[in-house]
């Protein structure tokens, strides 16, 4: 009892002296190492968010005929009320939800399928296919959308011309179709990228497991299903979250499609709604409010998805 009582009294003193000096040094090192990150994080991440939130409480006001110098006035939550009460905001949000519910599972499904094929024992020329599948991702998003616009445009598209010659009325840009035409562009652009993430996760799994399974008589299909796929769950969760966030930020495709399709208006997706508010209507407060709401939706969805996906893995 006494020995144990004495020991802690002495030992901590020694240790404390050592750690105090050490901690100071370590603390200095930690600060030095994380400073660049923290500063950049504050500057390019936190500041714009705070600024947007502040801006969302203000609105531009003029008087009389409107040609006097406009002034910025505090309007409280008015911009948020306006967004929540506006049909345009909800239809824009509805569109990206519909898009996400269909496009994300389809894209990740294809990506997983391709990754499993390339990882299978029978695959040949893996590195060639890896590059080929990944290639669309290397094309800048806007350019990809313009490229596809040519394939969709009723007067220029070879597919429409082919349809015409076969007597079929092909329309990629109608009100019910255009969202899925955009989903096709996104899928084309990002499947390879997601496949690559999944493939690297697959290749990190120790090969012995597959051998053992094969000796036990498991088919390649069964190995893919019950051994490989469950083990790359973190990669699936990561690509899932990336895709959800990407969907919420959908902008290039609708912005380009608007030039050629009457089914896409200036408020088709929330990002276009916010951009139009800021740079066409000069209503930065409303644009900020929409952006903040959108960030909230993205945050809630990501947390929800992560919790669900990770709970099922436990």
């Amino acid at each position: 009892m006494t020995t144990t009582a004495v020991r802690p009294r002495v030992a901590p003193q020694v240790v404390r002296g050592a750690t105090r000096r050490g901690t100071r040094r370590v603390r200095g090192a930690i600060l030095t190492l994380i400073a660049p990150f923290v500063l950049l994080f504050l500057f390019v991440y936190v500041t714009p968010i705070v600024y947007s939130v502040v801006q969302s409480f203000f609105s531009l006001q003029t008087s009389s005929l409107g040609f006097g110098e406009p002034s910025t006035v505090f309007v409280g939550l008015d911009n948020y009320t306006k967004a929540i009460e506006s049909g345009a905001f909800w239809s824009a949000l509805g569109r990206i939800f519909a898009f996400g519910f269909v496009q994300v599972p389809v894209m990740l499904g294809i990506a997983l399928g391709l990754a499993l094929l390339l990882d299978s024992a029978a695959a040949r020329w893996v590195s060639l296919y890896r590059i080929l599948y990944f290639l669309p991702y290397a094309i800048p998003g806007v350019i990809a959308a313009v490229l596809w616009a040519y394939l969709y445009s009723p007067t220029l598209s070879p597919f429409v011309a082919l349809g015409d010659s076969l007597g079929a009325d092909v329309d990629f840009l109608g009100p019910r179709v255009v969202l899925w035409s955009m989903a096709n562009i996104t899928t084309w652009a990002f499947t390879g990228y997601n496949m690559l993430i999944m493939l690297s996760a697959l290749q990190a799994i120790p090969r012995e497991q597959f051998e053992a399974a094969r000796i036990d008589g498991a088919s390649e299909w069964r190995i893919a299903r019950v051994i490989k796929t469950p083990q790359i769950r973190p990669a699936l969760v990561l690509t899932g979250i990336n895709s959800i966030i990407g969907t919420i930020q959908l902008f290039n495709e609708p912005q380009v499609m608007r030039v050629i399709s009457d089914a896409v208006n200036s408020e088709y997706v929330p990002t276009m709604l916010a951009m139009g508010a800021a740079f066409v209507k000069n209503d930065f407060g409303y644009a900020a409010a929409v952006s903040v709401l959108l960030a909230l939706v993205a945050g809630v969805l990501s947390v929800l998805y992560y919790t669900l996906a990770m709970r099922r893995s436990q």
């Binding site: 005929l65 409107g66 007067t155 220029l156 050629i260 000069n282």
Partner: protein, 435 residues
């Protein structure tokens, strides 16, 4: 080949909007060297051949050097201009279509240059000067107007056996004839991405979308004349006699080349564009006066631009001097109004003399097309004004037209909705609107 290239450029340029916030313009606000070096003025616009004119100026004015940056069109330029003015780096001069000037003033994007304009007012058409001076102060120098006429394919008119319609009633009959003879072709189209033509059709019938009534605005987007125009075009759409299209879609010029449309009704600035983009059909085009309401000579104006002085410009005096020279001097207008140059119909008072020069073009079978535009310019209703939130209305109109094209609305309903949203947008801003 050329068509495809131009089309590609147009589409790519539109797409470039995406990059708007990210890339600051490299055009600094006009800055002068304190040591007495040359003053530098930046100027953004989309008039073909403007570069050539800027070179002429720079050659003659070593003290005031203009740096020109071309953009594809207003739709692309406006968000960029707005974001850079907001960021305090908007440059000095920018081309704005006349309908946008009021909005840019109301949004605090332009500089009051009344003190520098001197006698320039006397050079330009009164109504254009009124449109660049909303509320009485001047913010821009008028550049061109868009007196409207009807460009048409004489060969196809012959083929379908139709005479050039002079009234809207004759036009409707001709449209039915064409559609009945060949359902794949229509006499003309309604452009869902060109709000200015719908405004112009209302303008021609005497509509008054925005009018100052004492200390408040009177908004008449759904006034009788506008509804009349809307019902006329909705009737043609409903019977299938005309189709909708996207004017700025790369496919549009392909359609024109194929003869999908026999005629296009538009402002004078279309001359240079169709000449360049549908060169294959050269020689078969003619220009006739725009159809009118029976018993009236009134025409309308579609588009037209001004060169505006942006807030933050450090040398407004030099900027105004250049803009005035650009838009009124013989040297400059010789290039800007040439059909194979800028193709503009200038906003100066003596436009007929200036624009008449050498306009007997091969493309139009040697017709003197200037005559038609001069006559049109004489008959434009000059009381038209644009409201202080028109940039919002313009977007709403474009969205509304798209909805009409997809069957979600009709033109008269769309105008009624637009009236409501426009009044709401103005009141939201604290702008006075009369009942």
């Amino acid at each position: 080949m050329k068509t495809a290239r131009t089309a590609a450029a147009a589409l790519a340029a539109t797409a470039m909007v995406t990059a708007l916030g990210a890339c600051g313009t490299d055009s600094g606000g006009g800055s002068s060297d304190p040591a007495g070096g040359p003053v530098e003025i930046s100027y953004t616009g989309w008039v073909p051949s403007a570069e050539e004119v800027v070179d002429v100026w720079n050659e003659a004015n070593p003290d005031v050097q203009v740096r020109y940056s071309p953009v594809a069109n207003g739709q692309e330029a406006y968000p960029k201009i707005r974001s850079s003015v907001q960021a305090g780096d908007g440059g000095c001069l920018a081309q704005l279509t006349l309908d946008q000037v009021s909005s840019f003033v109301a949004d605090g994007m332009l500089l009051d240059v009344s003190e520098y304009v001197g006698d320039a007012e006397d050079l330009f058409l009164d109504w254009t000067w009124a449109q660049v001076s909303p509320g009485g102060a001047t913010y821009a120098i008028p550049q061109d107007t868009g007196p409207m006429a009807m460009y048409y394919r004489a060969d196809l008119f012959d083929q379908f056996g139709i005479d050039v319609p002079t009234t809207w009633d004759e036009f409707a009959t001709a449209a039915e004839t064409v559609h009945a003879a060949d359902p794949s072709k229509t006499l003309t189209y309604l452009a869902t991405d060109d709000a200015s033509t719908i405004a112009a059709y209302a303008w021609q019938r005497g509509a008054q979308w925005f009018e100052i009534d004492g200390e408040a605005w009177q908004v008449g987007i759904d006034d009788d004349a506008s509804v009349e125009a809307a019902e006329y075009w909705q009737g043609l759409l409903d019977s299938g006699a005309i189709a909708t299209t996207k004017r700025w879609d790369p496919g549009f010029y392909a359609e024109l080349n194929q003869g999908t449309y026999l005629a296009m009704i538009g402002g004078a600035w279309n001359t240079a564009l169709i000449e360049e983009n549908v060169a294959e059909t050269s020689g078969s085009w003619r220009v006739a006066p725009m159809p009118t309401v029976d018993g009236s000579d009134a025409t309308a104006n579609s588009g037209g631009s001004a060169v505006a002085v942006l807030k933050g410009c450090e040398n407004p005096e030099a900027a105004v001097e250049f803009a005035t020279w650009l838009n009124s001097s013989d040297e400059s207008l010789a290039v800007l109004t040439a059909p194979d140059g800028g193709g503009l119909y200038p906003a100066v008072k003596d436009a007929p003399e200036v624009a008449a020069a050498d306009q007997e073009l091969e493309f139009f079978g040697g017709q003197d097309i200037a005559e038609v535009f001069d006559a049109s310019a004489q008959n434009v209703n000059t009381d038209w004004a644009w409201g202080p939130t028109y940039s919002t209305t313009d977007t709403g109109l474009t969205d509304g037209l798209a909805s009409v094209a997809t069957g979600g609305s009709t033109l008269p309903d769309m105008l009624a909705g637009l009236q409501e949203t426009t009044v709401a947008a103005m009141q939201d801003r604290g702008i006075a609107v009369a009942d």
